[in-house]
């Protein structure tokens, strides 16, 4: 476990913390890190110089109050809705979704993180000029609906929300001024981007000491097959359709049981071994991706 992960675990998932060894400083359990979890990479700190922040965050975590996840309302301010969500931090250095809770009041729209408590983004409703839903396709192929909010100062934010449609509707109703809003607006996928088959897919990743079955999301389009594990930053398998020379059912037993394995012969990667609950759909579509009809998600 690296320090990045450690910080993540400590600050966002305090419940999994195991206090094996405790150092107490001024009655605050400062380093509540199990020895096992502390076996880690310190070069991270060399790069980020984040130790002080880490200590400060750990202190904040240790001292957090029961009311930490509630938004402090101003006098007379009323809460309209609260739901899980997040804010897309998009500056010159980072593009990161920061999870938290989206609070809509009769005056403000706020994205709040619980631990450590921080207002990730905030706008006065009087300054909100437009709100619309956007469809975002993640690298793994999943489609997510996001809420785009534009404000008077020309800035704005892209938010995620547990129920984006509801958030948009309530926002439109709550905002004082006239608001520009429209229905779902997703960029139309090009002819090569429509999914023929999409869903859970196992990939038998070749490794130095023997292959490893890994679970992930497969997405087959006329352009080719892309497979991505949620643990990886990008797809580990990108097979252009033109690279596929043959597809056949496999004989071996896969992670999903008998009859789930199929192999894809490629020019660049040789034989690629995959497995799915319904391999026939993949095999058929892979065999003739240009002619295959679009199927609902697997």
């Amino acid at each position: 476990m690296t320090l990045d992960d450690l910080v993540e675990v400590l600050l966002n998932k305090g419940a999994v913390l195991h206090l094996d060894l405790i150092v107490a400083v001024a009655d605050i359990p400062l380093i509540g890190v199990s020895l096992r979890a502390a076996v880690a990479g310190m070069e991270t700190m060399l790069e980020y110089g984040m130790l002080r922040q880490w200590d400060a965050d750990t202190r904040a975590w240790a001292m957090r109050s029961a009311a930490r996840h509630e938004l402090e309302l101003r006098a007379g301010e009323e809460s309209v809705v609260r739901m899980y969500g997040g804010h897309l931090l998009d500056d010159d250095f980072h593009t990161t979704w920061r999870p938290g809770t989206v609070h809509l009041t009769d005056r403000r729209l706020v994205v709040l993180r619980r631990d450590p408590r921080e207002v990730l983004w905030e706008a006065e409703l009087s300054a909100v000029r437009a709100v619309r839903l956007e469809s975002e396709r993640t690298v793994g192929g999943e489609s997510r609906t996001r809420v785009r909010v534009e404000t008077a100062d020309g800035a704005g934010a892209l938010l995620s929300a547990a129920d984006p449609e509801r958030l948009r509707d309530l926002l439109v109703r709550t905002c004082p001024g006239p608001l520009t809003s429209d229905g779902p607006r997703s960029p139309l996928p090009g002819p090569d981007e429509r999914a023929l088959v999409e869903g859970h897919l196992w990939y038998r990743e070749p490794r130095r000491d023997g292959p490893l079955w890994r679970g992930g999301n497969g997405r087959l389009t006329p352009a080719g097959l892309v497979w991505k594990s949620p643990l990886d930053a990008r797809p580990a398998l990108v097979l252009p359709a033109a690279d596929v020379t043959a597809v056949r059912p496999g004989a071996e037993r896969g992670p999903g049981g008998e009859g789930t394995v199929f192999t894809v012969e490629t020019g660049s990667r040789g034989t690629v071994t995959l497995a799915a609950d319904e391999p026939r759909r993949w095999v058929e579509a892979l065999g003739s991706p240009r002619d295959a009809p679009a199927l609902p998600s697997a």
């Binding site: 476990m1 359990p29 020895l35 310190m42 700190m45 060399l46 002080r52 250095f93 490794r207 580990a236």
Partner: protein, 288 residues
């Protein structure tokens, strides 16, 4: 506080004398705390039970000192489970133990010294610790960071090229619009290249490395797009082969920028994945 604590650098196989002459953070002399019957020792210095705090510069210096100490002992013992910065084992101080601490800490009848606590902890985890040390013996960690240059990765994009040509003789208003379109095309083009490059490099690195763990992105240059940021666990004899893979990638893909760091002690691979879930460990899938 008068009770002494231990600042822990790493767990290593017990080799008497392996810490001789090695100094750690702030010049503290290091010693091995032997845990009889386990074959495991802790590399420590005697400390106040207070974590290091200071400016980023001080932290950097101390982290570098800690790293140098771990490397020196690692080279003598052949394997190590390095700790992160500021791992302190304090003596039992029952009055300071919070109410939500584990039961065994609350119920401690007699206060133990830091040495006793650390020895007990190591003894109770000895099998797992030894197994992990064995699996890391003669291996080093390498860091690979690959990004692509956004502008360079769109150089072959026909749409981008024709837009660039169009830009020159347009009105300022239209130029702004076209510039935005150009940025979008460059973004998409760079993403496509990054996806293809990631899949290719990952495949080639995994043919040489024993393990690969992705790290969070550290792209700081807005002109670059992150492709792969990973720690590799590599047999010492295979370090050159990793370099050869990266050199080939550099030659094949002019838009790629590659950073290759190490070899280091296996900082990112020292977790004990055999007991309990580990956030960043390899996916829980069966080896086929």
């Amino acid at each position: 506080m008068t009770e002494r604590a231990l600042y822990v650098y790493a767990l290593v196989p017990h080799r008497p004398g392996a810490a001789d002459g090695v100094t750690g953070v702030d010049g503290h002399p290091l010693r091995l705390l032997d845990v009889p019957g386990t074959g495991v020792a802790a590399l420590v210095h005697d400390a106040d039970p207070t974590p290091y705090q200071g400016t980023d510069e001080e932290v950097r210096r101390r982290v570098a000192e800690q790293d140098a100490a771990v490397v020196a002992v690692w080279e003598r013992t052949g394997t190590a489970l390095p700790m992160t910065f500021n791992v302190l084992v304090a003596p039992d101080t029952p009055s300071d133990v919070p109410a939500d601490a584990p039961r065994d800490a609350r119920d401690a009848r007699s206060a133990r010294s830091a040495e006793e606590r650390l020895r007990e902890w190591i003894a109770s985890h000895a099998d797992g610790l030894r197994a992990r040390m064995d699996s890391l013996a003669d291996r080093a960690e390498l860091r690979v960071e690959i990004t692509v240059d956004r502008a360079a990765s769109a150089r072959d994009d026909e749409r981008a090229r024709s837009l660039e040509a169009e830009l020159a003789d347009r009105s300022p208003g239209l130029r702004r619009l076209l510039t935005r379109q150009l940025e979008q095309i460059r973004r998409e083009s760079a993403e496509r290249l990054a996806d293809a490059l990631y899949a290719d490099v990952r495949h080639r690195l995994l043919a040489v490395a024993e393990d690969l763990r992705e790290r969070s992105r550290s792209v700081r240059d807005a002109d670059e797009l992150g492709v792969l940021s990973a720690a590799l666990l590599v047999r010492r004899s295979d370090i050159e082969a990793v370099g050869a893979v990266l050199a080939a990638v550099r030659d094949e893909q002019p838009a790629a920028r590659i950073r290759f760091l190490g070899p280091w002690p296996p900082y990112s691979f020292a977790d004990l994945s055999d007991d309990g879930p580990q956030g960043a460990s390899a996916p829980a899938a069966a080896r086929g």
